[in-house]
Symmetry: C2
Subunit: 332 residues, 2 copies
């Protein structure tokens, strides 16, 4: 039987195999993605991001257990660890995770350490969500470490983005980022049994006020468009702040409730479609960019490329001039 | 007088103006970069990265004061804050910084919050280093927040990368990343007067052992090449671990000494040239990719592009098929 057919029927081994092919960007992986694409568009993509030490993974575990036990939903977890460019830093996290969720056929966990560029990572994550979506997973959680731009880009893949904080982490002014808050649909203060939870909540509320959530961002014809929504607009989603203790499950049901409300909100005001458009538009651009580059590198002569690089190294020509020379010599 | 000429003569206002043009990717900015490029290649680029709360900014301040007072070197600081995609999160940090370093004409500080893609951020940072390099700054410090892939990419621009840790930050297994350590040339445990410094040092030494530093990575013809260096190779640089207290200057002179030794090491074993090649090769590829994409988008019909995106949204065709259609229709 065909690999894609097996995946549509729920075969876990085939699913695992395809994810590896997709990660390696193999021709089989690409072909399968094309075949599976028409089966996508059903899953709810949830991004979970936050600094190390906030207990993100425990929170994701608890949320997954909740969706399994209370709603019988199939859940896929993609744990992205972009800070580990060479070795598999995500592996340890997996082992901790497995204790809670192993043996449940309705849960699939896949870790991913960056092997290439950031663009590559976001693209692989996007492809993974498509595979899980086609394979019938209702909820796909994309968990990213940290608060860098790459994490923001990956979180943007999601319909609902959860930003996790914890009390007492980082005592300097950089601790709470307006930028990361702007992508948050739901905020969580995890480890809420720790001292300092009130301070964290106060800081979050202040930062939220500064973050101007009254904005809708989407992409169109390769451009990011940002629309200011009037403050009085009833359609605005005000990100709720939840306090949780992931280790004992406190606050998880309430968090799941907020997530469900956010999905309803997205459908009601048309943002679901906008986010789909932004997500698929970005993906299209990324594939296009990669394809243009690889087509170009196939056409360019290695000797000519090396000679031009050498001239840049000698500071004879700038990178911009080098590109002009490469393009003039090869695309005419 | 020409803008570039003014910059070569040390005019700060012109420098500031050009940085803004470069950040906005204006035609004037690009033209100036081309003109200035032949004046680059003198500066020592130092990357400083680490999680929020490690006291990176204070450390960079102290290091800058050291270079100013002890060695009379001109220092530029590029503070990159990729977690702030929309608003200027870097501004606050600047104000704190200014107290120590303001009024010194041998110091130039520039903050940068991400406005576009990660690629764009790394590219702007690369362009900034060229401007400062041409303007005669001996040391260019690129300070990045966090430990994501984008920070790793930006740190890779540097000749010498310093990774800053602090005791008691993050108590889970994600706290110390093998990936970020692999890019470290020098490690700093800042806030070394805090409890837990021995634990942090022990964890760092263990992680360093796992991180296989015996590897040299460079780029060639658009590809990343990694060479395993035999463990017995005398040319291997073992990243030293420094303990500092940035607030009172403890350990700063020793850190500066290690940085100087690293530069000497890079020149001796040929890694300086390899890193230059990797850095300029990456930059060339980024400019090339961007140029290919913008040339393509100019040629493609907006209606056709929108129609294809719509077909992807309707799940009629996958992003890969969409790209194939776009390329077939327009590049033949």
């Amino acid at each position: 039987m065909q690999l894609t057919q097996l995946i549509l029927e729920g075969n876990r081994l085939s699913l695992s195999r395809l994810l590896t092919q997709v990660e390696n960007d193999s021709p089989e992986g690409r072909a399968a993605l094309v075949e599976l694409f028409s089966h996508t568009g059903q899953a709810h993509l949830i991004g979970v991001t936050g600094a190390p030490g906030t207990g993100k993974s425990s929170l994701v575990n608890q949320l997954t257990l909740f969706y399994r036990k209370q709603q019988n939903k199939k859940v896929a977890i993609i744990a992205v660890d972009p800070s580990s460019p060479f070795t598999g830093g995500a592996v340890l996290g997996d082992r901790v995770r497995m204790r809670d969720l192993s043996g449940d056929d309705g849960v699939f966990i896949r870790s991913m350490a960056s092997r290439g560029s950031v663009g590559g990572l976001a693209q692989t994550t996007a492809s993974f969500t498509q595979v899980f979506d086609a394979a019938g997973y209702d909820i796909i959680i994309i968990e990213t470490v940290g608060a860098g731009q790459s994490e923001v880009d990956i979180a943007r893949l999601a319909h609902t983005t959860i930003v996790v904080e914890a009390p007492g982490l980082g005592d300097d002014i950089q601790a709470i980022k307006a930028g990361i808050l702007e992508i948050a649909d739901v905020l969580v203060i995890n480890k809420a049994d720790r001292p300092g939870v009130e301070n964290t909540e106060r800081a979050l509320r202040t930062a939220l006020g500064l973050a101007h959530p009254a904005k809708r961002v989407f992409r169109h014809h390769g451009q990011t468009i940002s629309i200011d929504v009037p403050e009085t607009d009833a359609k605005i989603w005000a990100p709720p702040i939840h306090k949780t203790i992931a280790t004992d499950g406190t606050g998880i049901a309430e968090l799941a409730d907020s997530i469900a409300k956010h999905v309803a909100h997205l459908h009601q005001n048309g943002d679901w479609a906008l986010r789909e458009r932004a997500r698929l538009g970005s993906e299209l651009d990324a594939v296009l960019q990669e394809e243009l580059m690889s087509q170009f590198l196939e056409k360019v002569q290695k000797e000519k490329y090396d000679e031009i690089v050498e001239n840049v190294l000698q500071r004879n020509i700038s990178p911009y001039e080098a590109v002009r020379m490469l393009l003039n010599g090869n695309l005419k």
